[in-house]
Amino acid sequence: MIRATIGGGLVILALVFISLVVGNTEIDHNPLNWFGGVNDQGDQDLEILTLSRIPRTIALILAGISLSVAGLIMQMLVRNKFVEPATTGTVEWASLGLLLCLIFAPGLSVIIKMVVACLFALFGTGLFMLLLQRIDIRSDAIVPLVGLIYAAVIGAAIAFVADQAELMQSIWVWIQGDFSMVLQGRYELLWFAGCLGVVAYITADQFTLAGLGKNMSENLGLNYTLVFIWGILLVSVISGITVATVGVIPFLGLVVPNLVSLIVGDNLRYALPWVAVTGAALILLCDIVARLITFPYEIPIGTIMGVIGSLLFLYLLLRSEPHGQS
């Protein structure tokens, strides 16, 4: 256990270090030279670090933590391993909210746009939960299936609206997950999402109970409805914030909790820190790849994550299937 913690910590530190030194401006690879004003180069390094690299790395870690925690909560609430904000329409609703802002009130401040995105995400997630209640769940596969098609429907609505406003190309660029524009002063809202991840950890036991189902958890004295709404609120706000600040990062919330549960099992309080760490590590890795694959240019991380995430999803699905069939 201690060995695993140390190993995990080292991997994260290594990724953080790579994330700090990889970029267009070359930075001295010896961290000791970053401070202390040894020379002009050191001053410039420090400035680039504080203006660009450190914010980007922090943004990545915050997004990674909050998205994978949001995915885990979603999976507990729906009691299905294969859901996350991007397979339940949450992210699409947030994007639709942003698109409507872009069309009808382009001058709104970022905060207001984000609030709109969160509200749309909340509405969309609530609608999805209503949909789920009305279908007869016979297979593990049907919930993500319904969710994905639901998301596709909202996608069609986005295409329809965007086509009316001739924003087809802009909107896909806009909502695609991408950290290349993260700078000091342009990502701080993600701290709020990160805090929600911590809040989720504090209230983790409630979600574990809720994961047992409505009847069981109410017998155990849980206010199920309240916890359920609280969970949806957490998930929606985290999705809304991340979509509004860095765009859509698909499948992170799905694959990370599943990979973690393969290794450490399903106890939420125990698994959550691991989910957070793995989420941060995976997103850091993807972003480093995104920065390097066409250096000096960038590929949006959303695209990289879409390819890697869907492959991992397929692996998890085909792997779990012999047991998952009911």
Partner: protein, 318 residues
Amino acid sequence: MIKNSWLVVCSVMTFLIWGQQAYGQDETRSVSIEHAQGKLSLSETPSRVVTFDLASLDTLDALNVNVLALPTKSVHDRLAKYSGKPYVNAGSLFEPDYETVAALEPDLVIVATRSSPSFKMLNSIAPTIDLSVWGEGFIEQFKDRSSTLAKIFARQSLYEKRLKGIEHKIAQVRSFSKDAGKALIILTNGGKISAYGPGSRFGWLHYELGFSSVLTSDDPEQASNIGTHGDPVSFEFIHEANPAWLFVVDRDAAVGSARGAARALLDNPIIKRTQAYQSGQIVYLNPMNWYVIAAGLNAVDESVTEVLEALQKSVSQK
């Protein structure tokens, strides 16, 4: 079959009209044109013109030639007067409304680049020319396409005058730009930035207007490929390239949504460290001219003027 019967109808009409007008006309004009997808010879100055190419519309506008129909929903800004009556909406750039075009019985249809896939179908309805501008040699191609239009509509003298003006301005720009330092062209779209190099659609700023590019490589093979696609870049990329001139095309403004988004995007400490910012040489280009119309007579004129004015301003400040 349709084409043949059209030819018959056209020639009969031509004959009738010609018969009526022959007395008033000194000469019969016969113009033959080579274009991207074939040849066309016209025995008359076309009077019923449909254009699916906004650059040609811009040129015709500059040459005082009237058009009948165009994709009215695609025009903004300077060409906004074409967005309503009396101009007929001929569909979209990508999907012409063929029936409307056929009903108008045009004697010339113009397509280019975005609309050039419709050439075949349109050409079966009415005589069609493809005036696409593509790849290297922007100004050469622009001259070729616009002089073709001038020839078709017998506006050579007006065209020559305008062209002389443009060429004069280009020469002026070149005299400044060779010592102006390196330049970088970026496009902002949906809050993201892409860089454009000499081989790109905006590349003529480099090879025609004489700015050297920050996107260079020692390997000539690689150099011609740099930034042709409009590659996504970070602020750090611009910082590292450190151009003396930063030319910005705000795509969102070009298609008519939020203006000033590019300015807000670039207002950050990393950009402030660049030479371009410090010497006040970040130029927000007119996105309609650069991104949407490109090779139109007015658009090129305005684009060159825009760059010239920026250069003159910067020289006078020094």
